[in-house]
């Protein structure tokens, strides 16, 4: 069964799109990532124009992160205060990111910069997480304590001023690294068109030492707002949000996310991190191969809007 997408202007297979949405939704619920870094490349691979894929991906992530965040809110694994601080930095970062985006576009090679950003961030984040989680898994197997929060272990982040108490997360931390993290993620969101969960989750765990169970809900909370902001900006500036495509992805995605949240809660933190690391690395390697391997087709045709 096919459906014609009015904004993407192509016909697609409904079941394939539903399948994509469900799979990405499941992973997003499980790991607390929005799934933007998965859905956007998948849509582009399925011949959806990149501009539409980025904007529609963001719209779909609003739905899956909202659904996931609500579940976490009910379970008490969402730190609204921490999420709000991250968001404050995030919105400033997103605005700066939009400016950088336009600057890069004027210089040409925006596509290349986006690809390089993806490859670098996914590989570094995935690699670091994998090493760490495999280490904890090995410690767990040897019956040693697996807690990340070793008492008395303080890094430079904990010596910064303007400390604030976050009750839900049981941390007492300076607002500077939180705002800075939010800002950094905001910049990446605008340039890469992703929610930033795949960077946010490990950064909160390793940099801020927030407990893993709170990290996921809080990250999803932050992602809702950043992707909603991106959706509105994209719709206004580029008219590239396809509501039909987003609707299909959402319906399948939110259902997948509900099951993902459940499976995620059954797994232990380090197992979850190892799986997310593998997933992030796999996407990074796939995109790196695209850059390095000799392509089948050297040419590409782009129809610009101007004509008569």
């Amino acid at each position: 069964m096919t459906i014609y997408l009015p904004i993407a202007e192509i016909s697609v297979n409904v079941f394939l799109i539903l399948g994509m949405g469900a799979a990405v939704g499941f992973l997003s619920g499980m790991f607390g990532v929005g799934g933007g870094f998965l859905i956007t490349p998948l849509l582009i691979f399925y011949n959806i124009p990149p501009a539409v894929a980025v904007a529609t991906g963001a719209n779909q992530v609003v739905a899956s992160s909202f659904s996931g965040a609500l579940s976490h809110f009910r379970r008490g694994t969402l730190d609204i205060k921490l999420g709000g601080m991250l968001l404050a930095g995030g919105l400033v970062g997103a605005s700066v990111g939009i400016y950088l985006f336009m600057l890069l576009r004027d210089l040409g090679q925006l596509d290349l910069i986006i690809s390089l950003f993806y490859v670098i961030f996914l590989s570094v984040v995935g690699g670091l997480m994998l090493v760490e989680s495999v280490n904890s898994l090995m410690r767990a197997a040897a019956n040693k304590p697996v807690s990340l929060r070793k008492p008395g272990q303080h890094i430079w982040v904990h010596r910064l001023p303007f400390k604030m108490r976050f009750k839900r997360s049981k941390i007492y931390l300076s607002v500077i690294p939180i705002l800075a993290l939010g800002f950094g993620i905001g910049v990446l969101t605008s340039i890469m068109g992703v929610g930033g969960g795949f960077i946010m989750v490990p950064a909160m765990i390793y940099l801020l030492h927030v407990p893993t169970n709170v990290v996921i809900g809080t990250s999803l909370f932050q992602i809702i707002f950043v992707t909603a902001f991106t959706t509105v900006v994209q719709a206004t500036a580029n008219q590239s949000v396809d509501i039909f495509l987003a609707g299909l992805l959402m319906i399948a995605g939110v259902i997948g996310a509900q099951y993902g949240v459940r499976v995620g809660q059954k797994l232990r933190g380090e197992q979850l991190r190892a799986l997310l690391a593998l997933l992030v690395l796999a996407v990074g390697v796939r995109l790196a191969l695209d850059l390095v391997l000799t392509p089948d087709e050297f040419y590409s045709v782009v129809v610009t809007g101007i004509g008569f």
Binding site: M1, T2, I3, Y4, P6, I7, E9, I10, S11, N59, Q60, V62, A63, S64, S65, F66, S67, L70, S71, R74, Q109, L112, I224, A228, T231, V232, V233, Q234, A235, T236, A237, Q239, V241, I243, F244, A246, G247, M250, I251, V254, I255, A257, Q258, L291, V292, L293, T294, P295, E297, F298, Y299, S300, V301, V302, V303, T304, G305, I306, G307, F308
Partner: protein
């Protein structure tokens, strides 16, 4: 005196030939389509457009011999098109060169009684822009010494053909009676929305006789049309709606799946 008489005679002869050829009624070509608007609905996967045509005043003898040929082409709306080429720089494949072309038809579908190179000479086809190879592709902006133009031109045509946007059916036109013919033109699933030009050409003994042109509109309908217009005319509202739809979907799912 003699000389001027011969001149008059020649002139008379010329006039007579002119008149006789004007009197001997010329062949006429007419085409018609059942609709001048094609609606793209949600389940559109491409369509066949049937064009009917009549060939009047044809010479029976030449018709028997198959000396009349017809070419029907549907040309999509023209858009400025950019072709990019990847090259390896520091081990990474990046879009290194690009060439911009003056508005090029987004789609082109051709149907004919014979392969077109057997209907008319190259120069005739090229002059009337008949056939995929003869679509005018003019580079715009800086092209350097122009030595790369053929390479980009060829890539553009090849990619369009691969996408199904450019296609030709060499035996898609058939005579259903001595004067009626039917042409089948394939519209691909990704046919562009907008004003299309339907052109029909009549050839006799490999010589061009006449051309007919009709317009055909390809439009979106119903919900597709509504969404498209909303997205373009009320884009901020549309963005807000998209976000609200997403939030509603997310909320509905979390309520439906609520266990506690």
């Amino acid at each position: 005196m003699r000389r001027s008489l011969t001149q008059v005679g020649a002139a008379l002869l010329f006039l007579l030939t002119m008149m006789s050829s004007a009197l001997a009624v010329d062949e006429r070509l007419d085409i018609g389509i059942s609709t001048n608007e094609i609606a793209i609905t949600a389940n559109f996967t491409g369509a066949d457009l049937t064009v009917f045509g009549a060939l009047d005043n044809a010479d029976r003898f030449l018709l028997e011999l198959g000396q009349y040929d017809i070419i029907v082409a549907l040309e999509g709306p023209a858009r400025e098109t950019v072709v990019r080429k990847k090259e390896r720089v520091f081990g990474i494949w990046i879009n290194r060169f690009s060439m911009r072309f003056e508005p090029v038809p987004v789609s082109y579908s051709l149907s004919s009684t014979l392969p077109i190179d057997r209907i008319a000479r190259e120069i005739e086809l090229s002059g009337r822009t008949i056939g995929i190879e003869h679509i005018h592709l003019l580079p715009s902006g800086r092209v350097g010494d122009g030595s790369r133009v053929p390479e980009f031109r060829e890539a553009l045509l090849r990619l369009k053909v691969d996408d199904g946007l450019y296609q030709s059916e060499p035996v898609g036109v058939e005579f259903v009676s001595s004067s009626l013919f039917r042409a089948t033109i394939r519209l691909p699933a990704n046919v562009p929305v907008g004003q299309h030009k339907l052109r029909a050409f009549l050839f006799k003994n490999n010589e061009f006789v006449m051309e007919r042109e009709l317009t055909l509109r390809v439009v979106k309908t119903g919900a597709e049309q509504f969404v498209y217009e909303l997205a373009h005319e009320q884009s901020f509202l549309y963005g807000i709606l998209a976000v609200l739809l997403a939030m509603f979907t997310g909320w509905a799912a979390s309520v439906m799946f609520r266990r506690d």
